[in-house]
């Protein structure tokens, strides 16, 4: 009974606070990450060779270095150069850049799958490259990238838990503090796990809903 009261009065309010911080981390990181991914993916496919090369290097670096290490660099490393990011900002920057690198790969794949003929048709109508990308290619490519990019967003929800490593106390951080005070590791992290599961499920539903809404005649999936 005492345990139940502790959980109800101390654990849950604290975890909800953490959950709120997590959401505040996830939403800008997911949006920024996707935006970076679109730009980088498009550059890798359509930009001139040197620019595409730079975008490739970006992906190689941010996909190749463990996220925790990237977080530490933003938070502990930059001060050496006189640049100070708050724990929250370091986390958002690290998550966005890492997520962008992964998104760019899904977007690149989707861009490559658009038939060349449609680009010829757009060019023949007098579209500029950028206008063609914006109104012909991306609307189709993003639809195709959605399952992969959605997966990346779900992944981001979970790796946002790394933010507590740079003292941005979100859901996992709160859980860790509570657990080390009360030694109720099992109970508290079970609850934390359920919170993440709910977040991920909601995101999954939302993404599935978007996929259905954006599906096009002739491209929908028919279950056999």
């Amino acid at each position: 009974m005492e345990e139940f009261v502790y959980i109800q009065h101390d654990v849950l309010p604290s975890l909800f606070q953490g959950l709120w911080i997590s959401v505040l981390l996830i939403i800008p990181s997911a949006s920024l990450g996707l935006a970076i991914g679109i730009v980088m993916g498009a550059l890798r496919v359509f930009a001139s060779r040197p620019v595409a090369m730079l975008a490739n290097i970006y992906v190689a670096i941010f996909r190749g270095i463990p996220l925790v290490v990237q977080l530490f660099i933003w938070y502990f490393g930059l001060p050496y150069f006189g640049i100070y990011f708050s724990p929250f900002l370091s986390s958002v920057v690290a998550f966005s850049l890492c997520s962008g690198a992964y998104h760019s790969e899904y977007i690149r794949g989707a861009l490559l799958s658009i038939k060349k003929g449609q680009m010829l048709a757009a060019e023949a109508l007098g579209f500029t490259k950028l206008e063609m990308l914006r109104s012909i290619i991306l609307p189709q490519a993003l639809r195709r990238a959605l399952p992969g990019s959605g997966n990346e967003i779900i992944y981001l929800i979970k790796y946002s838990s790394l933010a507590y490593m740079v003292t941005c106390i979100e859901l996992t951080g709160k859980g860790k503090i509570l657990a080390s005070q009360s030694f109720k590791y099992t109970e508290i992290f079970l609850i934390v796990g359920v919170f993440y599961l709910v977040l991920v499920s909601l995101a999954g539903l939302l993404l599935r809903h978007m996929e259905n809404r954006l599906s096009l005649p002739g491209f929908e999936f028919h279950r056999a």
């Binding site: 038939k115 003929g117 449609q118 010829l120 048709a121 757009a122 060019e123 023949a124 109508l125 007098g126 579209f127 500029t128 206008e131 109104s135 012909i136 609307p139 189709q140 639809r143 096009l216 005649p217 002739g218 491209f219």
Partner: protein
């Protein structure tokens, strides 16, 4: 006399001079020249791989020629200048063998989008214009269907409407019926005939020789990247000078025997 010469030069809507294009070692176009006058229909025939498509794509610089010049209404096109290139392409309608409709847009939006995004036309106006063009090709009731829901013939008619909406000065048609089932060819031919009747200037590559002979002011026989022979349909089809032209025409007429 000189003034007269200049006038007749300017008479051609489209003039192409000495176009050369190689892909690697293979020379696809070996210095081709031709011109199309206002309201004139020229049809290019010739075996596949002879460079017909490449020529048409070079004319609006979807493929950049290695050498040669393109003139529209007496103005030389400088394709290196992007603004000039984009402005030029708006005036040259292009129809592709495999339609190349935009898969994510319905028929109406396919016709409308370039008006809005390229011509910067107001959306409502563009919509009106797009509906009018769809009506013109007989697809008013299919306006809200997506490419995947249309037949090949309907798709090609949408693509013709899409090109027409831009008010092109000349149209390039690259085998517009080659990807169609035989029973769908007629509806596309009817639309093209209608355009010709309304005075559209055209350069068309096709294998439909019967159709070509009815429409064309001149037939151009092209093989191995050069123009072998050109002249009025009756001459090319029935009384060609070059043996190779004769042979090709005999074969293709025999096979298709279309109208």
């Amino acid at each position: 006399m000189e003034a007269f010469m200049a006038r007749s030069e300017n008479d051609s809507v489209l003039r192409v001079e000495n176009i050369r294009k190689s892909f690697g070692d293979k020379e696809i176009l070996k210095g081709l020249s031709l011109s199309v006058k206002k309201g004139e229909v020229k049809v290019i025939i010739g075996p596949s791989g002879g460079g017909k498509s490449t020529l048409l794509q070079c004319i609006n610089f979807l493929v950049i020629p290695d050498e040669g010049e393109v003139w529209l209404e007496g103005e030389k096109i400088n394709h290196g200048k992007k603004r000039e290139l984009y402005a030029y392409r708006q005036q040259v309608g292009m129809i592709f063998q495999d339609f190349n409709l935009f898969d994510h847009l319905d028929a109406l939006e396919n016709v409308q989008i370039a008006l809005v995004r390229v011509k910067k036309m107001d959306k409502a106006k563009a919509r009106e214009r797009a509906s009018a063009e769809l009506r013109r090709v007989g697809l008013a009731e299919h306006a809200s269907q997506y490419p995947a829901e249309l037949s090949g013939g309907q798709k090609q008619r949408v693509s013709i409407a899409r090109a027409l909406a831009m008010d092109p000065k000349v149209m390039l048609l690259d085998e517009p019926t080659s990807a169609l089932d035989p029973e769908l060819i007629g509806e596309v031919h009817a639309v093209i005939k209608d355009l010709v009747a309304n005075g559209m200037t055209m350069l068309m590559a096709t294998h439909q020789i019967g159709f070509a002979s009815v429409l064309a002011d001149e037939i151009i026989f092209m093989e191995d990247g050069t123009i072998v022979e050109q002249g009025p349909p009756t001459k090319i089809l029935l009384d060609a000078e070059c043996a190779r032209t004769k042979e090709f025409c005999a074969k293709i007429t025999h096979i298709s025997g279309d109208s």
